[in-house]
Subunit: 523 residues, 2 copies
């Protein structure tokens, strides 16, 4: 079936949405609060009663979903069509966690088999590390793993590691080096024992300048440590594409492969995230995460918008952005374990949909991806919530909550009263933002009508985390389809790279570049 790719403002359903009444009852009726709930898969529920939408808005969003053929486009992507038109690539991150569409075969290779095989390689390797069958060059067992990567090779895996380090006792302590700033590597080096540390170099192309610069720093560090027998080649592994200069070179213990069908920000469930997570927690934990993501992927195939949480979440975002004109959105996890999750979502969302040209290269005339920011609650409450409650712009909010804490059962202390306090704060905030409060002193008054949604699960374990990750990936994908964008390239990061290279190679012909080069002491 031929798909119809069209701009948002060419659809009838969007025009209809624009003309609908925008007033919504802010009294949070019981019907809305408890029954406006959708299943996101993996034990996650999506509550949207505190949104600024009426039931007819939801119906209209369902029509928009149909008119923009969101499910058909998702299916095409799953079946391996070239959805990333700019770079002429398939978009296959869903395939890392299971088969949902047709077999995808490229150059004779079934790609589901390829991803599964790399996971199996990772599993075997991590077991050898954990059992001491592979040891460091000076005879020490590996107890520490350092991921060296940037962007998608860093933010997702880092957020996932931090989310799980309380609930699963790490088999290896993990650190991360991403920034080309030498102070980043220096701090990690000061904390680790080189003899028992395994470094993962993560770069699809094998040429990412930050990652190569950090590899060189680590090798210098190893040499300057003057430890007899310490051999860098026996302390590095690579996660890269088969054709990259890093793959199977003599300078690494082992290589695990990814391919061009998986973009950096969508690579957490490939060996980019899998190697680190399997080494840190064991391959079984990573498999649980994949299972949770796969459940959410399946759920995203539901036809009815009220049963498809990722699609509904996406369309509510489109309504806020394009009908109500809100420019930002905050993600507020009531879980310290998700402290870096907003940074991952910031990349996932803003790099995918921060674009002003549609998938055919035409300038569009409506707003696309919003600015995404967030911090864990209750910390944020003591920080920027002032603006969220009483600022001059409305910021739609997404809360993430859990019934139980992660740590309780493991350490034998009763943490439940703190968890109760945490969730009381969350409940109070949802109601405060929605209902507001009258006061004659306007400084103490709250307008209310500040919309929020809630993603809720029992406890943050690997399965739930995988489900959350996939929920957001699928949400961003659906929004990209609505806006008629290619959410899978990132041409906006190229110009900076080009100018940096020109400057470092002394080829910058721009006067401005050379002035800033002087100011910044680049000789």
């Amino acid at each position: 079936m031929k798909l119809n790719w069209k701009n948002l403002d060419e659809t009838k359903s969007f025009l209809r949405l624009m003309n609908m009444d925008r007033q919504v009852d802010k009294n949070l009726s019981e019907d809305r609060t408890s029954k406006w709930k959708s299943d996101s898969g993996a034990g996650i529920s999506f509550y949207y009663g505190a949104s600024l939408l009426s039931s007819s808005h939801i119906d209209a969003l369902g029509e928009l979903a149909d008119e923009q053929e969101l499910l058909g486009k998702y299916r095409a992507l799953l079946d391996g069509e070239i959805v990333n038109t700019g770079e002429k690539r398939r978009v296959l991150h869903h395939l890392t966690r299971g088969q949902l569409g047709k077999d995808v075969v490229e150059k004779g290779i079934n790609l589901r088999d390829f991803y599964a095989q790399e996971n199996a390689k990772v599993k075997e390797f991590s077991e050898k590390i954990h059992t001491g069958k592979i040891i460091g060059s000076t005879g020490k067992r590996f107890d520490t793993v350092v991921q060296i990567g940037i962007g998608g090779s860093d933010l997702g895996p880092r957020a996932l590691y931090l989310a799980l380090e309380r609930i699963y006792r790490p088999k290896m302590q993990a650190y991360f080096i991403s920034n080309v700033d030498p102070d980043d590597a220096a701090l990690v080096c000061s904390k680790i024992n080189l003899e028992s540390t395994l470094f993962i170099l993560v770069s699809k192309s094998g040429t990412t300048p930050e990652t190569l610069a950090n590899r060189n720093l680590i090798i210098d560090w190893m040499k300057s440590a003057r430890i007899r027998g310490l051999d860098p080649a026996r302390h590095f592994i690579a996660v890269t594409s088969k054709t990259s200069p890093l793959a199977d070179s003599n300078s690494v213990v082992n290589s695990f492969y990814i391919d061009d069908n998986i973009g950096g920000r969508y690579s957490s469930t490939s060996s980019v995230g899998g190697t680190l997570l399997s080494l840190a927690f064991g391959a079984d934990v990573f498999e649980e995460l994949l299972a949770g993501a796969h459940e959410a992927d399946k759920r995203s195939l539901e036809k009815k918008i009220r049963n498809n949480a990722a699609m509904l979440d996406a369309l509510i975002g489109v309504y806020y952005r394009n009908v109500l004109g809100f420019q930002t959105s905050a993600v507020l996890p009531y879980s310290q374990a998700l402290c870096r999750f907003p940074s991952h979502l910031q990349q996932l969302d803003m790099e995918s949909n921060g674009k002003c040209v549609n998938r055919f290269g035409d300038r569009i005339s409506y707003s696309t991806g919003p600015v995404i920011f967030g911090e864990s609650g209750t910390n944020g409450q003591h920080s920027f919530y002032q603006l969220l409650h009483q600022g001059t712009d409305v910021v739609p909010l997404q809360f993430i909550g859990f019934l139980k804490e992660q740590s309780g059962q493991k350490i034998g202390i009763d943490f439940s009263s703190n968890q109760r306090q945490l969730n009381a704060n969350l409940a109070a905030q949802i109601v405060a933002f929605a209902k507001g409060k009258k006061d004659e002193n306007l400084n103490k008054a709250f307008e209310g009508c500040r919309p929020s949604t809630l993603l809720l699960a029992r406890r943050l374990d690997a399965r739930v985390l995988g489900g959350l990750l996939a929920h957001y990936e699928n949400k961003v994908m659906f929004q990209g389809f609505c806006w008629n964008l290619n959410s899978f390239d990132q041409e906006g990061v190229q110009l900076g790279k080009t100018l940096t290279t020109a400057l470092l190679e002394g080829k910058g012909d721009s006067k401005a570049l050379s002035v800033y080069s002087d100011i910044l002491g680049i000789v």
Copy 2:
């Protein structure tokens, strides 16, 4: 001299600004790039050539500064006038780092003497800890310090500690517990040795629920550890107000005082930040930080707008917000050491100026504080820079850069090539955002005219860090004066607190609250 507090849209100079030509040459002439530079104090320069302003705009902003009496209001604040009108308090954080106005005397106490005396107490105490004159209850020397606080008692001190831990070898390793989420405390507990750890309880009122809940968790933890002789009272100190229930109670080793004239988000240079930083790095490092902040405070008294970087930065922000209508602003430090600095600024700015009511309690009809977000570069480049370059909304940027890395000289490895690469990226980004790039393929084209400014110093040490901190505090203060806000209260956080308490005490009479209470498993 009587000050004239008026709304931004009542000023003639703002009307004039609104009617001025908005077109600016985007070619970054050498004059603009190298000479549009202002001194921020403490060795920091503010470059604003890549902004969207002409020289006449700057002149007009100078007139606005005069008409809104920014300097007169700053002087009144320094002299101890009740500038925080809502809470009827003085605003004295500048006094923690030096005397710039008249003596401020309250109930017979000279408050400069009070703050200086608390710093002296902190200095003496931290020396006793470092030399082992005060030791833990089981006879071990303290080598670890944990700050327990939230909001302003956490974000500022944490950002400052992380900024300095590479350049000064910590005398004590520091950790932070802020969130009421029990998983926050659990992770820190798993990393420390209770016998050699000193906990700082930071709460001005002594009643912050998150902080008290975390104190109780730590005490439970200590008890359950069953270590003979381990006495919680000998492992806690307090930073609080003199009248708080925490002060000089039998449950702490020592107390250090703050008062109501210093708001949480402005308290980093009081004993709230000073205790932690003096314990971690030594009192001399904290004194350097205060000296840098004081230099920037002095510089903020400069009359001419082009010589007063904090004021200029503030007014450029007002121009973007109220004339050009931009809703967000990004802070992008090219230094991994400043990785948490954007979170501190997010609080500082959004909690101070995220308000829709002026200092007299009247609703205002113009935009105030923007959404602030940011990450360290080069990490951000591989993440949300796509939207900054090619998204549909313009986000004004503020870069922070340094000529030298922190770590080089200490560890004897040549890091300069990585620092060179870091700064080449920074130079390239400034130019790329300003000038853009034409391309027939619009997907690869960059519109340019995406404005930025740059704060630049030689190396990030304690003095420069103090200067940066004060630059932003003063910038936010000047913007608050422009918008006629009270930047020093935070009524917007109260409703959530009230509803939380009601819910926990079973007094919530709202149906919605009880539904969410059920959903979130609060029994």
